[in-house]
Structure formats: C-alpha cells, structure tokens
C-alpha cells in the first residue's frame, strides 16, 4: 500500500490542506446537488426490453445512471417523463442468477458489485401498462454505466478521508492500478476456460473419428454378412 505521507513534502501539504477544506466541502455539496448530465441515449418501445452486457472481473462495482424522456405531442419535443412511468432494472450474473431486480422511477441510479467474474447482463424495460402513455412514440432513455475505478466519486473520497489534491490524484492512480490487476486476474481465468473448451473439442473430435471408423467398419461387415446369408437363403448365390 502506497504511503502518501512519504510521497508528499510535509510543509506544502499542510498549507494545501488548509486551503482545500472549504473547497472540498463545497465541491462535495455541488456534486450531490448536481443532476445527471446528458449521456448517450437511445429509444425504447413500450414493451421492449433492452439488455446490455458488462464483462467484468469480480469485486468490481458498477454504477448505472439513467434518465427518461417522453415525447410530448403538443409541444413536439421530448420532455422529462411523468412520475408514474418507471423503469424496471434487472441484473443477472454470469450464472444467470438475478442479483438486482428493482423498479425505479423515471430517473434512477442502480449500483451493484460483482461477486463472480464474467458477463453480467443489465436489462431495462419500462413498467408502463397503459399504451396511451407512450402516445405511439418511443421513450428516450439516457444511460450512463460506470465500471470499476470510473464509478468512484473522488470528491466524496477526498472529503471523507480529508485528502489534498495530490493525495487524491495518487489515490486515483492506486484505484486504476487495482482495477488493472483485477482485470489481469480475470484474464487468467478466461484463458483457462478457453483452454478447457479447446481441449474438450480436441478430445471430442479425436474420439468421434475413432468411433466413426469403427462404426463404419462394423456396419460394412454386418451388411455384407447379412446380405450373403440373405442371398444364400434365396438360392441366388
């Protein structure tokens, strides 16, 4: 574990720390009050279910933010959806076990941490049962998924652990390196699975070739013997 005090000169840190404190609190407050900024968006139909796959190592946190907008025919533009309209979020782990299954409002944020490495599936669909709500149009969903180190809220960490700017930068580097190491462990696990699949295929092809040859020879012999006895019985041979 990197020792922050050994990295940064003491006196400079003290003066920085005094200046940082009120700044950090205001930044934290701003972060909390700040609404979700626009991100990539897509359209989803009434009963449509959109699924996204995240292949992640274990013990990795994922934070998903979404915001919905509904097309308003009168104003002919997309406006934030009504409170009654919510999205149903379902998250499945690589073994197809449901780890999160909840309904959120028209704007929501879901978090989960993976306990097994592999492909996790995040599915979203609207909970609307009244077809008139969509007015024949589509629901616009802004989605932002942050994985691992990107999911960390550094302003919060800085305020909680009372870190200066430099300490925070170093903390970010530590988190990044952690994530890289987790990914490498996952890569080792994946390579093993790939190797097992290949060896399995190799074995099956080998056995099948042998068995097929034996079956062919056996059927050939049986056919000839059977026909010979048949023709002898018919007195043609």
């Amino acid at each position: 574990m990197l020792s922050l005090s050994s990295v940064c000169p003491g006196r400079k840190m003290a003066s920085l720390r005094i200046r940082m404190q009120p700044c950090l609190f205001s930044v934290l407050l701003l972060n909390v009050l700040c609404s979700f900024v626009s991100a990539l968006y897509f359209h989803i139909g009434e009963t449509e279910k959109k699924c996204f796959i995240e292949e992640i190592p274990d013990e990795t946190m994922i934070i998903g933010n979404y915001r919905t907008q509904l097309y308003d025919k009168q104003r002919e533009e997309y406006l934030p959806a009504t409170q009654g309209l919510g999205m149903f979020v379902e998250v499945k782990d690589p073994d197809d076990k449901v780890i999160l299954s909840r309904q959120y409002g028209s704007e929501g944020r879901f978090t989960f941490t993976s306990h097994t490495p592999g492909e996790h599936q995040i599915c979203l669909h609207s909970n609307s049962s009244k077809f008139s709500l969509f007015a024949g149009g589509m629901l616009r969903v802004h989605l932002d998924i942050q994985v691992g180190e990107h999911a960390n809220n550094y302003a919060e960490i800085a305020a909680k652990d009372k870190l200066t700017e430099l300490q925070l930068r170093v903390r970010q580097l530590v988190e990044q390196v952690d994530q890289i190491q987790k990914e490498q462990n996952y890569q080792r696990y994946r390579e093993e699975r790939f190797r097992q699949t290949s060896e399995s295929t190799n074995q099956r092809v080998l056995w099948w070739s042998i068995v097929q040859t034996l079956i062919l020879v056996a059927i050939g012999i049986w056919q000839m013997r059977h026909l010979k006895s048949f023709f002898e019985a018919k007195k043609l041979v």
Binding site: V7, C8, M20, C23, L24, V27, L30, S38, A39, L40, Y41, F42, H43, K50, C51, F52, I53, E55, L143, D144, I145, Y154, A155, A158, E165, L166, L168, R169, V170, Q172, L173, Q176, V177, Q179, I180, E183, Y186, Q187, R190, E191, R193, F194, T197, S198, T201, R204, V205, W208, V211, Q212, I215, L216, I219, Q223, H226, L227, F230, F231, K234, L236
Partner: protein, 208 residues
C-alpha cells in the same frame, strides 16, 4: 526540456477524453441507434467490435444533426472512426443487422467525446502543475492506455472464446447426428436391397 515536457503534460491534461462504452445485443433484422448531443468543434471517437454472432460482422453508419452520413460501412467486424464536429446538435451512431436472417449479434461500442472532467473542481485551474502533479497526470494517462489495451484484448479473447464454444457445440451435435445417420443408412440400405429381391423373386416365381 523539462518545461517543455511539463507544458506538454499540462496540455495533455486538458485534452483527455471521456465517454461511454457499452456492449449490447442486436437481434436479427434489427437496427439499433445511439444518439449523443455534442457541441461544435468537439472531437469524438467511435470504436466498435462485433463480439459474437454469425460472421461477426455488422453494418454501421454515423450521421450528423443534418442527417449527412459521416461514416457508412457495411459488414465490418471492427473499426474506429474519428471526427471533429462542425456543428452543435445530435449525432447518431447506428448498427444494423438487417442483412442477417437468424443470427443475433453482440456488439461493443466505445463512444469517446470531449474532455475528461477533472476529479476535483480545484483542478480546473490553468496555472502550471508541480512536478509531482505532472508525474501523476502522466501516470494517469499511461494507465488509461493500459486499461484500454486490456479492454481490446478482452474483446478479442471473447470473440475467440465464443467461436471455440460454438465449434465445440457443432462438433458434439454433428457427432451425434452422424452416428444416427450412419445407423439409419446402413440398416436402410440392407432393407431396400432385400425388398428389391423379394419382389423379383415373386415375379420370377409367377412367370415360371
């Protein structure tokens, strides 16, 4: 040299990008579009890869707010596309699997645009960074490249792994199918031959 590298790092800090990477499933005969609202003179990069399904290819096109095609490629397995926006508006990235009749594809998309927000507002100042801070920024950039490289290899490996698993499945089904076929044909041939001779014997007996 040191000052030059420091200023370079400072500029590098200002020019880094942030974005969204998602992996989604594209059913057969379907089209999926993603939209992003961008300002003018913003550089964006799009990276996509087909991870599984059929021939591992997909159609992709990118349009600007006036529906002009900026990028239009058919049946690509993976590609990168870069563009600097000339107007403010909604840019669209679409993937189409309409040429495929029964294979659904899994596509990975990485949409990077604009500048990365510094993790603290106090970092937005434009004064020169100290040597330690510049080192931190440099390491941060390199680690981002490492993480991107890992993602690239993870995707290639995922594609190879899906191919290997499909191969295993197909070998298994083909083995079982061929065993059944062999037995059916072997016994069937003998039965048919016997039936030919049985009829002839009957007609021969009738004529003599």
């Amino acid at each position: 040299m040191l000052y030059l590298s420091l200023t370079c790092l400072l500029l590098l800090n200002a020019c880094v990008v942030s974005g969204t990477e998602i992996t989604f499933e594209l059913p057969d005969n379907d089209k999926q579009c993603f939209y992003e609202e961008l300002e003018k003179d913003v550089k964006f990069d799009i990276d996509f890869q087909v991870i599984s399904g059929g021939n591992y290819d997909v159609d992709c096109f990118v349009t600007d707010p006036h529906d002009n095609a900026l990028y239009n490629e058919k049946k690509k397995q993976y590609d990168s596309f870069s563009h600097t926006t000339t107007m403010k508006g909604v840019y669209k990235v679409c993937f189409s699997n309409e040429f495929s009749t029964f294979t659904h594809k899994v596509v990975y998309l990485d949409f990077r645009h604009g500048n990365e927000e510094p993790i603290l507002d106090s970092m937005k100042r434009t004064t020169a960074l100290t040597q330690l801070e510049s080192s931190c920024v440099a390491i941060h950039e390199i680690l981002k490249v490492v993480a991107d490289s890992q993602t690239w290899y993870r995707l290639r490996e995922a594609q190879d792994r899906t191919k290997a698993e499909h191969l295993l499945e197909r070998v298994t089904y083909w083995s079982i199918g061929e065993t059944v076929l062999l037995f059916v044909i072997g016994i069937g041939q003998v039965m048919m031959l016997k039936s030919f001779f049985s009829d002839k014997k009957g007609s021969v007996a009738a004529t003599t």
